[in-house]
């Protein structure tokens, strides 16, 4: 029937009805785990899209969990540490993984503050990535959306912009096409094998790693990241070429130590491990002295300011970090400890946590102090020498390259890599 008035009436009614339905669906599925809607089997057990907005999801998750122990760090901690692992003793539970992909040292401090703002934190383990301590990263002049939703500002003042940001979060998580798309994706992903997930405890599983490993092979995952990191770190090395200054951003680590001491939180710092592919990039770009300087200065800082704080160093050429990568075209063989040169798997994360907690575990990492840091640096150099000698054919192309040409060198090495 053609009737313009009726057309407008039906259009308006349908529009309002559909809008209400969209809001209800988004609330039910809760794709970013903002509302804490109970996870429903077949609908929302896994939260793959929370991973796209980790700070949004985790800020609300941590407030609900009110953990006794928090894990802080970048994507490395986010993926590699399982907050529900049985390795965690009962006294330290609940554990929350507040690892945020791409986080900086300042970001680590902010997430730590946010976790402590829940009022229940007793222990904090902060994973430090070496590459976050090369270029100074001062706080931004304006607050990002992610920072606006935090309870407090850096320095401890209350964050006045939080209520507005929370209102925006609620709106964008319910009444947008993106939220609806993500709700639908969330439901669909429940039915695929190995979906990505951000658990309620903040630990993440990345489906893209699993899928890429199965469809493209581990070799491709490593090679892709090798090329990317060689470019990225090459730029950093170029910037640092004329600089012999102190390690950047250690003042933020000092602030982390001071903050935890002021709030009675037991702090452990841990330098994250890297696969030998990544370590070789540092070597060939001339960054290894920086690695050793970082460890030395960090150990000195912890010794002088961190009353009772322990600093673990997992960045070495051990059997874990030098695990061979399957050859090109091999889609079956999986690596055991690493997803790519930067991201360790949960299996290695468990060993690291066990080491930190003093539980029974294979030997990996050492507690760094000013007394043993030189010895540790020399030992890692020796490990590297042994590794290079044992893999000379693979590394030949890389080691012959000038240090400024790391990208090409590593790409060549990656392409030439065969079974070792």
């Amino acid at each position: 029937m053609e009737n313009p008035r009726r057309f407008i009436r039906i259009w308006l009614t349908t529009l309002a009805g559909l809008a209400a339905l969209v809001v209800m669906v988004n609330l039910l599925v809760d794709p970013y785990d903002v509302f804490g809607t109970p996870r429903i089997a077949g609908i929302s057990t896994f939260k793959p899209k929370a991973d796209d907005h980790p700070m949004l999801a985790k800020t609300y998750q941590v407030a609900r969990v009110r953990p006794a122990t928090v894990v802080i760090g970048t994507s490395v901690a986010d993926i590699g540490i399982d907050a529900s692992d049985p390795v965690w003793p009962q006294a330290m539970r609940p554990v929350y993984n507040f690892g945020i992909p791409g986080s900086t040292a300042i970001g680590n401090l902010e997430t730590l503050q946010e976790a402590v703002a829940t009022g229940a934190i007793e222990n904090a383990i902060v994973f430090l990535d070496f590459d976050n301590f090369l270029i100074p990263q001062p706080p931004g002049k304006t607050l990002s959306d992610d920072e606006q939703r935090l309870h407090g500002l850096l320095g401890g003042a209350p964050n006045a912009s939080r209520p507005m940001q929370v209102a925006e979060d609620m709106f964008l998580s319910t009444a947008t096409m993106r939220a609806l798309n993500d709700s639908v994706t969330t439901v669909v992903q429940q039915w695929v094998p190995d979906p990505s997930d951000m658990a309620s405890d903040g630990s993440s599983i990345k489906q893209e790693f699993v899928t890429a490993a199965q469809t493209e092979g581990m070799h491709n995952l490593f090679a892709q990241k090798d090329v990317y990191d060689a470019e990225r770190m090459g730029t950093v090395a170029h910037v640092l070429a004329a600089s012999n200054g102190p390690t950047a951003n250690l003042d933020t680590v000092a602030a982390i130590i001071a903050f935890t001491r002021a709030h009675g939180v037991k702090l452990t710092l841990a330098i994250t491990p890297r696969h030998s592919d990544e370590l070789e990039i540092y070597w060939h770009l001339g960054l290894w002295p920086r690695v050793e300087q970082f460890k030395t200065e960090l150990a000195a800082l912890v010794a002088t300011q961190g009353n009772g704080v322990r600093l673990w160093d997992f960045m070495d050429y051990s059997a874990f970090t030098t695990e061979p990568v399957p050859p090109e075209g091999d889609l079956r063989t999986a690596t055991r400890w690493f997803w790519d040169p930067n991201h360790f798997k949960r299996a290695l994360g468990r060993i690291m946590v066990a080491q930190i907690l003093g539980e029974d575990a294979p030997a990996f990492g050492v507690v760094l102090t000013p007394d043993n840091v030189a010895q540790r640096n020399a030992a890692v150099r020796a490990q590297r020498q042994a590794f290079v000698c044992g893999n000379s054919a693979v590394l030949a192309a890389a080691s012959d390259r000038p240090t400024t040409d790391g990208c090409v060198a590593v790409e060549t090495a990656a392409k030439q890599r065969g079974p070792t």
Binding site: F7, I10, W11, A19, V22, M177, A223
Partner: protein, 540 residues
């Protein structure tokens, strides 16, 4: 205030419409005054200083128009001088704000002058408003516009649905509509308006905007001097062509729909240009109101003047298939290239826009030349059209895509970099996994020189699928004007005499099914409002 914002859709528009309809019930003049004031608020929203810049210009143009009207018949020389003054004033106004920095920068580059480059606040929609004001003065001088008041003129210039990015309208096609508009709620107009606006919103937010993030890194890399591979270059070229296509199409639909809420039909501005079988036809479909302005106020007067001069000297003039080369060059090629140069400059103060205009000028000349030559070598027009139309379409499409790189590239160097990529000079690079999945054919490609990239094949697949789907929509589906043709969505648009099957099926009627379907489209658009993005044509 963006058309695609919560504030506009849920605040400004309902408020203005409510006021317009309520006032219109009592007094039409109040409703039109309300619309003028609302348009001024809309214009001032971003930068109130815009009003201080545009208001004196409106008053000066109105004064000049009045002077023209008084002197037009009795003192034609003075009228001509006033018209010239008006045109110069408007061009200088536009030039000062839009081109000063570009000119000073160019002088610095060429002559080493020491102009300090300062970026001025560019009044919104200045290019569109300037052309409208010039057209108005010309029409007054030519006697095509005889009755006007300051209030009418203000509404004509400021009418917010077309204020920022067109269509470029004529006083004589707008004011009769304003004078005849009922200024009351009209269910048919509102339902047509809702449909047009919803289609436009969906095109902009669902189809155009997602392409921005796809192409931006490639243009950014090209600007940084990083060569683009064949696949990347084509993704950049096709992706941006489709982005601006759906962006401008979406904007135009929204402008048509908004005007229709007030009972006004704006002129045709966008009519599936990518379906054009030749470049002349392309310009009759892309930004139609600009082509109309350039043709009427630049190309035609220039051609007419040159033709008269040649005729007075006894030289051959343009005469279809008997046209001589000098006549073609003087009377068609030169005015065409000059007009398109102005078109390029109008779009932006930069060498890329100038080159874009010149390139289209050359395309048009080649097309016109072929029209002169073709009857001599292929006299049967019917068989020619049957056999050559698909080739014409492909050549036109590729020419448009090729030139569109200039429209998006930040520098000519970046455009060159992408063009080289498009013809394969920078090599062919495919993700490792794609070559691996192709098996022996992948190895064959590698042996031909195809390089492997350690990137995910998912990105290439995603880009390819998106571009293919959008091309299918642009090329295979009827456009909004065709779908709503029975309700004259744009001024003068009538239903096709022999509509296609799909068009008959999709033809819009105010039915229950359309109301439900449209609600879904509207909702998809409204739910995508979260990330604000400007229309590409608003920058002009």
């Amino acid at each position: 205030m963006l058309f695609n914002s919560y504030l506009f859709i849920f605040g400004f528009l309902p408020f203005v419409l409510l006021g317009f309809y309520l006032l219109g019930e009592r007094q039409r003049d109040w409703a039109l005054l309300w619309l003028t004031v609302a348009s001024l608020v809309f214009y001032a929203w971003w930068r109130p200083i815009n009003v201080l810049l545009i208001a004196p210009s409106i008053l000066i143009n109105y004064g000049l128009a009045r002077a023209l009207q008084r002197t037009g018949e009795t003192r034609p020389t003075l009228a001509k001088a006033i018209l010239t003054l008006g045109i110069v004033f408007n061009i200088c106004f536009l030039g000062y704000f839009k081109y000063r920095m570009f000119i000073e920068g160019s002088l610095n580059d060429v002559f080493g002058t020491g102009f300090i480059l300062t970026r001025l606040i560019l009044p919104l929609g200045i290019s569109f408003i300037t052309f409208q004001k010039i057209a108005f003065l010309v029409d007054v001088q030519a006697g095509r516009v005889t009755q006007f008041s300051l209030r009418d003129y203000g509404l004509f210039v400021l009418f917010f649905p077309q204020l920022i990015a067109g269509p470029i309208v004529h006083y004589r096609e707008m004011m009769p509509q304003f004078r005849a508009a009922p200024c009351r709620f009209d269910a048919t107009n509102v339902s047509v308006g809702i449909t047009l606006f919803s289609f436009g919103l969906a095109k902009k937010l669902l189809l155009a905007d997602p392409l921005g993030s796809l192409v931006a890194p490639i243009y950014g890399h090209a600007a940084a001097g990083i060569p683009a591979s064949l696949t990347d270059a084509w993704i950049a070229a096709l992706g941006f062509t489709l982005q601006i296509y759906f962006d401008f199409s979406g904007y135009t639909d929204m402008a048509l729909g908004l005007a229709r809420f007030f009972g006004i039909k704006l002129p045709l501005n966008f009519n599936s240009p990518l379906k054009a079988p030749n470049i002349i036809d392309f310009w009759l479909r892309w930004h139609v109101s600009l082509t109309r302005f350039l043709t009427a106020y630049i190309y035609n007067p220039l051609t007419l003047s040159l033709t008269r001069r040649r005729a007075a000297r006894g030289k051959a003039v343009f005469g279809g298939r008997n046209t001589t080369i000098p006549a073609f060059l003087t009377l068609l090629a030169m005015p065409t290239i000059l007009t398109m140069l102005i078109s390029g400059l109008w779009h932006g103060a930069g060498y890329t826009f100038i080159l874009w205009g010149l390139l289209h000028g050359v395309f048009l000349c080649v097309n016109h030349a072929w029209r002169v030559i073709r009857p001599r070598i292929w006299p049967d027009t019917r068989t020619y059209n049957q056999r050559m139309a698909p080739i014409g379409f492909v050549v036109t499409f590729l020419s448009v895509v090729f030139a569109m790189v200039l429209f998006r590239a930040p520098t000519v160097g970046a455009a060159l970099m992408l063009w080289k990529g498009m013809v394969g000079i920078h090599g062919v690079v495919l993700p490792w996994v794609v070559l691996f999945d192709l098996g022996s054919f992948g190895n064959f490609l590698v042996s031909l020189g195809v390089q492997r990239a350690w990137t995910s094949g998912a990105l290439l697949l995603d880009a390819t699928v998106r571009i293919a789907v959008l091309l299918a929509i642009a090329l295979a589906l009827p456009n909004t004007l065709e779908i709503l043709a029975a309700y004259e969505p744009a001024l003068g648009v009538k239903p096709a005499k022999t509509p296609s099957l799909i068009l008959r099926w999709l033809a819009w009627r105010p039915t229950d099914a359309w109301a439900v379907g449209l609600a879904c489209v509207t909702l998809a658009g409204v739910l995508s409002l979260g990330e604000l993005s400007e229309f590409l044509y608003w920058q002009f």
